[in-house]
Amino acid sequence: MPHTADVAVELRARSELGLYQAGLDALRELLVGTSSVTPAVERSIEPRGADPTERLIHFLTDALYLWDTERFLPAKVTASGIAGETYDPAKHQAQREVKAVTRHGADVRVADGGYHTTIVFDV
């Protein structure tokens, strides 16, 4: 989606969990482009947030924290958090720093049998 300074994405999925996966895919693409990431190791993420929008923002923010502190790249959503692998410069092509998952314009809505929202990443 158009956004002048940062990166805005529109997420659509059939379920709330699917929305998390779409958000994770967007975050991973911002970090390492189309580099393949294997869901080799699991990391737990504790769900928090008073509504679906806050829960999604916190989920993505926690995934970003794992990247920033452990170089852990997310591949897929699991029952207890995320699965992925550690960044390997021989395998993954770093793209840019992502500072944060913002709340600007974020609003998870359920319509036409699916979930959707906009997410703006501060880059």
């Binding site: 158009p2 002048t4 720093e97 944060a100 600007h104």
Partner: protein, 459 residues
Amino acid sequence: MRTEGLIFADAELMRDLEGDQSVQQVANVAHLPGIVGPAIAMPDIHWGYGFPIGGVAAFDEEEGVVSPGGVGYDINCGVRLLVAPLGIADVRPRLAQLVDALFATIPSGVGASRSDVKLGRRDLERVLSQGARWAVEQGYGFPGDLEAIEANGELPAADPDAVSERAKERGKSQLGTVGSGNHFVEVGYVAETFDAAVAQRLGLEPGRLTVFIHSGSRGLGYQVCDDSLDGMIRAAAKYAIPLPDRQLCCAPLSSPEARAYWGAMNAAANYAFANRQLMAHYARLALGKVFGPDAAERTRLVYDVCHNIAKHETHEVDGRSRRLCVHRKGATRAFPPGHAELAPQFRDIGQPVLIPGDMGRYSYVLVGTAGAFRETFGSSCHGAGRRLSRHKAKQLARPRNIPKELEARGIVVRAATRATVDEEMPEAYKDVARVVDVVHAAGIGRKVAQLRPVGVVKG
């Protein structure tokens, strides 16, 4: 809206805003409680989150609020300018060597960290409470540097205990690093002066070599902002503050939620001052490596300013002196001659205002004016402002080789990734000369010198 919006721009700059939400974001800021005067946008305004980038808003200390969305994730993102005792003609033959030395000495790019500056717990606490002073006391720079930094590089309201463990974890190995995105280290020279006397006072004689540094509080600052948002969203509900955008969440300045954010935000700002102080030290080392120790020792700090900050300041409103909390998000303080907060060497000329442009054209040095103090709570613009989205810039850059194009124009580029260079291509930005001309014509800053780039380190 509780007040008006005021955008400083010419017709062409206004046309650049069509189709984005930055003007709506000015209107959103005008809804916040306790706002004093208009919600202001500088001519480099562009679409951000919460506040627009290029936004300035002042709030009454008793009835107003503080909003993390009015400061941004990169707390005290800012710029500093160094001037070296070298002329551009002497530097040209060894320019690539200098840019390589800067690229090797100052880590940039995704997750950049320093193995030589790992902060222990005690030192990190001191960075958070003392800012640039901590760095100078460790030998990173000279005591005289501190007088040429906004607030002397140390905000006393910092509370290291208000900074979360998560933020401290993110900050422990990133001090002295550039990061990525629009952050950079840029080698340039003074191409033109508009006020020769003031330029000379600042050491900016035509032809002199300059080094611009743009970075902020790195992961520590991003985490401080993020940590505050849950509490601020709850506070907005608790104090019945309607929010046109969740990212504008805020709390009354006198509330415990605001006090906790204030202590942490000031601590992150001190981290950013220390970060730029270390980067300047390593820039001096790089200059010394290529041009000898005299070049390093005689490289002087012109000034260092914050772009993303909220501060308590005294301003005159309707003929009355009032204490206000001034938010600047993508805006620069521009205090006039005579202001008591300025160090003695700037008291008669006004505060230096540093305006980087894009990596292909030029940057500017201005000084603050009485007009800025009267019209914009002592604020001016902070850069060129983006006009293309990152996606659009990458599309335009894909069939081209931007570093080669810049090299053909005499500008050496070293970058950690191609993606950043493409997204930051010169055409992605407005012409900063136009932005600065609006500022100068409106009297909210006065042009002193133009700098042209010859070398850029990007993340």
